[in-house]
C-alpha cells in the first residue's frame, strides 16, 4: 500500500515534469546542441552521474509503503508502519542500533561498562556491540582480514554488475562496438563503475559493521546520512517550483509592459529583498510554530508535522529567493522586447500574451535553468545553517543540518567523536560539489557569451 506524504507527491509531480521537459527538449535542435556539449564534457558527465545516484536514493526514500509490523515471533501485527523503499533496503543498519556512540568499524562500544562475564564476575571493560563485528569470535585478530575480504568481494560484485551493464549497452547499441560509443556514454559508464563498486562494497560491509559509526543514541550514522539525502533534494527542488512561477511571470511582465506594472513589481522585489533572508525565515517559522502548537489536531503524526514544516520551509525559501531571478529576467526582457522579431510580431498584430509566450519566454529559459542549478547548491548549504539555528527542518526528520546540530558538541569529547560531523559534511560536500560542477558546465554550454 502506497502511503505518500505531501512532499512525496510534489517530488513525483516534479519528476514527471522533468521527464516531460526532457522529452520535449529532444525534438528541438537548438536545445539539443548545448546539452550535447554538456554530455561530451567529462566533468559534466561525472557530476551528472553522481547527481543521478543521489536522485535515485532520494526517490527511493520518497516511495513510502504502509505495511504490517513484523513481530519478533515472525507473526505480523495488526498495527502498520510506514516505511520507504530505501528504509527496507537499508533494514540491516536501520534495525542494527547500539546503546550509544561507537567508532566506525568498531566492535566495542565507545564507553566502558560493567559487564558480567561467563563466570559471573563483574568486569569493567568496553562491551561488544550488538551489530558491529558481532559475527567475529576474535575481532582483534580477524577484523582487518574480514573487512578486506568483504570489501574485495564487494569490488568483484560491483565490477561484475558493471560488466553486465556494459554488455547490455553494447548489445543494444548500433554496431556492438565499444569504440563507436559517444564520449559522453563512455564517461557515464566509467563513473557508473565507480558508483557500483562503492555501493557494492558498502552493501557487503554494512550488515556486519557500522561503517560510519553510531551516534549518541546508537543509530547508524551511515543510515542517517543516506536518509538525509531526500531532505536536501526536496529543499533544493521544491523551493525552485515555488520560486519559478513567481519569478518568471513577474520578471517577464515587468520587463515587457514597463510603466506602472514595472514600478509595482520593482517595488515588491526591492521590499522583499531588503528584509534579511534569515530573519524573514526565522519570523515565518516562529509564526508557523505558533500556528502548529495552537492547531495540533491538523497534524496527527510526527511525520505529518515534520513534512508540513519541510513544505513550509520550501515555501518560505521560495518566497525569499525569487527576487534575484526576477531582476535578471526583467533586465533580459527589456532587451528582448526591442529585438526585431518582437517588433515584427507586434506589427503583424500578434497579441501581447502570445508574444510573451512564443518569443520572449523561450529566449530567457536558459537564464532560468542556469539560476535553478546554481541556486540548488546554495539551498542545500542553507538548510544546514538554518537547522543549526533551529529554524530549519523539523528536529525529528533526518537532515545533514540536524546531524551537525545534534553533534556540535561532540568535538569537545575525549576521545573525539568525529564521525557524525564528518559524515554529514562529506555527504553534503559531495552533493553540493556535484551540483556546482554541473552548474558550471551547464552555464558554459548555454551562455551565449562563452561561444566566442
Amino acid at each position: 500500500m502506497l502511503s505518500l506524504l505531501w512532499t512525496d507527491y510534489l517530488v513525483f509531480a516534479l519528476l514527471i515534469g522533468v521527464v516531460l521537459l526532457v522529452l520535449n527538449t529532444r525534438n528541438k535542435a537548438h536545445l539539443r546542441r548545448p546539452w550535447q556539449t554538456v554530455f561530451d564534457n567529462t566533468v559534466g558527465m561525472v557530476s551528472l552521474s553522481v547527481l543521478l545516484m543521489f536522485l535515485l536514493l532520494g526517490l527511493l526514500d520518497s516511495t513510502r509503503l504502509e505495511r504490517p509490523i513484523l513481530l519478533d515471533s515472525g507473526q505480523t501485527s495488526k498495527q502498520t508502519e510506514v516505511l520507504s523503499v530505501l528504509d527496507m533496503i537499508l533494514s540491516p543498519i536501520r534495525i542494527g542500533y547500539e546503546k550509544t556512540y561507537s567508532a566506525p568499524f568498531a566492535h566495542t562500544a565507545y564507553a566502558k561498562e560493567i559487564v558480567l562475564d561467563n563466570t559471573g564476575q563483574k568486569q569493567w571493560l568496553y562491551p561488544r556491540l550488538r551489530l558491529g563485528g558481532a559475527h567475529l569470535s576474535n575481532p582483534n585478530k580477524d577484523k582487518a582480514g574480514d573487512i578486506a575480504q568483504k570489501s574485495l568481494k564487494g569490488l568483484g560484485q560491483g565490477v561484475l554488475v558493471w560488466l553486465a551493464l556494459v554488455s547490455l549497452v553494447l548489445f543494444f547499441s548500433k554496431d556492438c562496438s565499444y569504440r563507436a560509443l559517444s564520449k559522453g556514454k563512455k564517461t557515464l559508464l566509467f563513473s557508473l563503475l565507480g558508483i557500483f563498486c562503492i555501493m557494492a562494497v558498502l552493501a557487503n560491509l554494512a550488515p556486519y559493521y557500522h561503517i560510519l559509526g553510531t551516534d549518541k543514541v546508537g543509530e547508524d550514522v551511515l543510515y542517517q546520512a543516506v536518509k538525509s539525502i531526500r531532505t536536501g533534494l526536496v529543499i533544493g527542488a521544491l523551493t525552485s517550483i515555488v520560486m519559478l512561477p513567481i519569478a518568471i511571470s513577474l520578471g517577464l511582465l515587468a520587463g515587457f509592459f514597463r510603466g506602472w506594472v514595472d514600478d509595482l513589481i520593482q517595488y515588491i522585489y526591492t521590499t522583499l529583498s531588503s528584509v534579511p533572508g534569515v530573519l524573514l525565515i526565522a519570523a515565518a517559522i516562529l509564526m508557523a510554530q505558533v500556528y502548529m502548537t495552537n492547531n495540533p489536531e491538523l497534524f496527527t503524526t510526527v511525520d505529518d508535522r515534520a513534512d508540513m514544516r519541510l513544505l513550509l520551509l520550501c515555501l518560505i525559501l521560495g518566497m525569499t529567493s525569487w527576487t534575484g531571478l526576477c531582476r535578471l529576467l526583467r533586465a533580459e526582457t527589456l532587451k528582448i522586447r526591442e529585438m526585431d522579431y518582437v517588433l515584427a510580431a507586434q506589427a503583424l498584430g500578434v497579441s501581447r500574451l502570445k508574444i510573451l509566450k512564443r518569443h520572449v519566454l523561450p529566449n530567457v529559459m536558459h537564464l532560468v535553468m542556469i539560476t535553478v542549478v546554481l541556486d540548488f547548491s546554495g539551498l542545500v548549504l542553507a538548510e544546514a545553517v538554518l537547522s543549526y539555528i533551529n529554524i530549519g527542518v523539523d528536529p525529528s526528520s533526518y537532515s545533514w543540518g540536524n546531524m551537525i546540530n545534534s553533534s556540535r558538541l561532540e568535538m569537545a569529547r575525549d576521545p573525539v567523536v568525529w564521525w557524525s560531523l564528518s559524515a554529514a559534511f562529506i555527504f553534503m560536500f559531495s552533493l553540493v560539489l556535484a551540483v556546482n560542477l554541473f552548474a558550471d558546465v551547464v552555464r558554459d554550454a548555454f551562455d551565449p557569451r562563452s561561444h566566442n
Binding site: T271, A283, Y388, I389, N390, M411, V416, V432, L437
Partner: protein, 325 residues
Amino acid sequence: MINYIIRRLLYVLPVLIGVNILTFVLFFVVNTPDDMARMQLGDKYVSQSAVDNWKQQRGYDLPLLWNEQAKGLQQVQQTIFFKKSIGLFVFDLGISDNGRDIVADISQRMWPSLAIAIPSLILGVLVNITFALLLIFYRGSYLEFVGVFTCVALMSISGLFYIIAGQYFVGKLLALTPISGYAPGMDAFKFIVLPVFIGVIGGLGSGVRWYRSLFLEEASKDYVRTAKAKGLSELQVLFKHVLKNALIPILTGIVVILPLLFMGSLITESFFGIPGLGSYTIDAIASQDFAIVRSMVFLGSFLYIIGLLLTDISYTLVDPRVRLN
C-alpha cells in the same frame, strides 16, 4: 547631485513602509498576540488571566488597527500598529519581551560585531583580489584549472565546517587562540583572530570566483588588447588597466554590504560566543522574543536600503558615465 540624493531618499520611504507592513502582518496578523502568549507561557494549560497579564505587560493588549473605545486621534494611536510599528521609523524599538531596552542593547552590542566584520571584509577583499589576479596572470595554464577547481570545491564546503574545523584544529589542538569568548578593549584581539581568519577562508571560494569573472570581463576588452599590442608587460596591463577599471564594480559591490556589517554574522558570532548583534538575533530567535526579532528585521532592511542608496551615489561619484537622471 543634492537633488538626486533627495529623490533617492524619497524612494526609500515607500520601501520602508512596505517592510513595516510586512513585519506587522507576519508578527501580529498571522498569529494573534494571544497565540504568542500561549506559546511563551506553555501551550495548552494556561489560564486566560495569565495570557491577559502577559499581553498587558508588553503592551499587546490593544486592538490591532483601530481602537473603538478611545476618542479622536487616540483611536489610531492606542493600537498595536501605531505603538509597535510606527515607532520603528524613529527607531523607538521599545522593550524586548524579557524587559530590556532594545536600543540600548543594540548600541552596546554592535561594537563586537563590527570588530569582527570590518577586519574580515578588508582582509577578505585583499586576499580574494590577490588570488583572482594570480589566476588571471596564469590564464590558460594548468595552474588556473587547479585554482578554479579549488574555488568550486571551497565553495561546496559548508560554512559550518570551516568554523568547526577551525575551532578544533587552531583552538583545541594547536591552542593558538581561545576557542570562543570575547573581552572588551584591546584584549579582544586574541578572540577576534580566529573568527576573522575563518571568515576569510570561508569566503575565499566564491570571492575569488567573483573577482576572477570581473577581471576576465575587463581583460577581454579592446583596450587591454591595445595595451598588450603596444608592448606593455602582462603585469603592467594587469595592474594598470585591468585592476584599475575593475575597481568600479568592486567598490560598488563593497559599498552595498557596508551598512549590513552592523548586523554581524549570525553563525560566526554564536559559535564563537561573541556578544554582538548576530548572537543577539540568534538568542532572540531561540527564546522566541518577538520584539527583538521584529526590531532586527526592520533594522536589517533599513541598513540594506541605505546600502543600495550608497551604491547608487558611489556609482555616480566614481563613474562619470552614469548620468544623474
